[in-house]
């Protein structure tokens, strides 16, 4: 499974807008490269990435061949209750990945 790193603030105030960042190790093969025998290396990119905050979807991205390898994504969301932000993704080959990070919300 591809390694992913998530960055969220360790704690936030209720209602505070926080920045969530994720970096995933994935070759994101665009499908335009050739191997040494002249054959096209098949396209295999992460095509869907979803983030759920305490079970509710807060972010969804549809990625394509234009996204670089080892993709980095970043978005903002409002901190409501303590819990988990869970990312899950799937690539063209059907490989699934997931990673979660905990956030503590005070107030």
């Amino acid at each position: 499974m591809s390694l992913a790193r998530i960055q969220v603030p360790a704690s936030a105030k209720r209602g505070e807008v926080i920045e969530v960042r994720i970096a995933i190790q994935h070759a994101m093969e665009a499908g335009f490269r050739y191997d040494n025998n002249g054959r096209t290396i098949p396209k295999n990119v992460i095509n869907t990435l979803v983030a759920r905050y305490n079970g509710t979807e807060v972010f969804r991205a549809e990625l394509g061949s234009g996204i670089s390898a080892n993709p980095y994504l970043q978005f903002f969301m409002t901190a409501e209750a303590s819990g988990d932000i869970e990312f899950s993704w799937v690539d063209d080959a059907g490989e699934r990945g997931s990673e979660r990070a905990a956030i503590v919300v005070v107030g």
Partner: protein, 254 residues
């Protein structure tokens, strides 16, 4: 009179060779603002994906006794601090010159009794990047005396030897033309203090030896295989030439 002139000529010839560039600049100083900011950001730096993997591997038991790196070495940020700045070296166990990758392999083989990781494999790059990153900010400081001297001399000779269809030596670009342009790119001084790096061209992390192979391929010379003695000698020379520069692993380069 002629002896004096001869001495002056020899001295002049020596002073143009085997010298550190002045002023000494890490490769990051020649990188674009985008690449520099990517390296500074510990989260966005793609090389940190390998460092994080290395941190996991550090704790993973391996080999017949199920020992992890951490079983003997404890916390890497304490035990590995300063280690990368001293490599390549001939240590008390190795019979020849080894780099950091070689030292990790040596531990795997002799201490963990675990299978070796292939050179340039994801796992070896990850562990090397993790160990080297524990020395961030520490100046490179390698030994070139005693048993290291022969390796250093061979490395220096290779650095100044013109090779390939383009008949170029390392010095022709990295001493004579650093800060000038090669195509659209700015030529660096060619130091190894940030390795293993994440190279945008590779879209992956890679070792200093992979970079050597890129250069050899670039001048249309035959590339030695990974782990070649020639690369190790050159790594030692480069470390001496760049001594004083802080370790930056994981570096980000174009």
């Amino acid at each position: 009179m002629t002896a004096c002139l001869l001495a002056i000529v020899i001295l002049a010839a020596c002073s143009t060779q085997a010298a550190q560039p002045v002023p000494l600049k890490s490769g990051v100083e020649f990188a674009s603002a985008d690449v520099r900011s990517l390296q500074q950001d510990d989260f966005a730096n793609p090389g940190m994906l390998w460092v994080t993997r290395g941190a996991k591997l550090w704790l993973e038991p391996a080999g017949s006794d199920g020992k992890a790196c951490g079983t003997c070495h404890g916390d890497a940020n304490r035990s590995m601090k300063g280690v990368a700045s001293r490599y390549p070296r001939i240590d008390s166990v190795s019979t020849g010159l080894i780099n950091l990758e070689g030292r990790i392999q040596q531990c795997r083989e002799r201490r963990q009794h675990a299978p070796l990781m292939a050179y340039e494999s994801d796992e070896l790059l990850a562990l090397t990047a993790y160990v080297a990153s524990q020395s961030r900010g520490i100046p490179v400081n390698v030994e070139i005396d005693g048993s290291h001297r022969a390796h250093f001399e061979r490395g220096r000779a290779m650095y100044y030897q013109r090779v390939g269809q383009m008949n170029l030596a390392c010095t022709n670009c990295h001493d004579a033309n650093w800060s000038k342009k090669l195509g659209a790119e700015t030529i660096s001084q060619g130091h190894g203090n940030a390795y293993p790096i994440y190279r945008l061209e590779w879209q992956a992390a890679g070792s200093l030896q992979r970079r050597f192979r890129s250069c050899l391929s670039g001048v249309r010379a035959e590339m030695f295989p990974y782990g070649a003695a020639e690369y190790l000698d050159l790594e030692l020379y480069l470390a001496w030439r760049g001594q004083g520069l802080a370790i930056e692993t994981p570096g980000v380069r174009r």
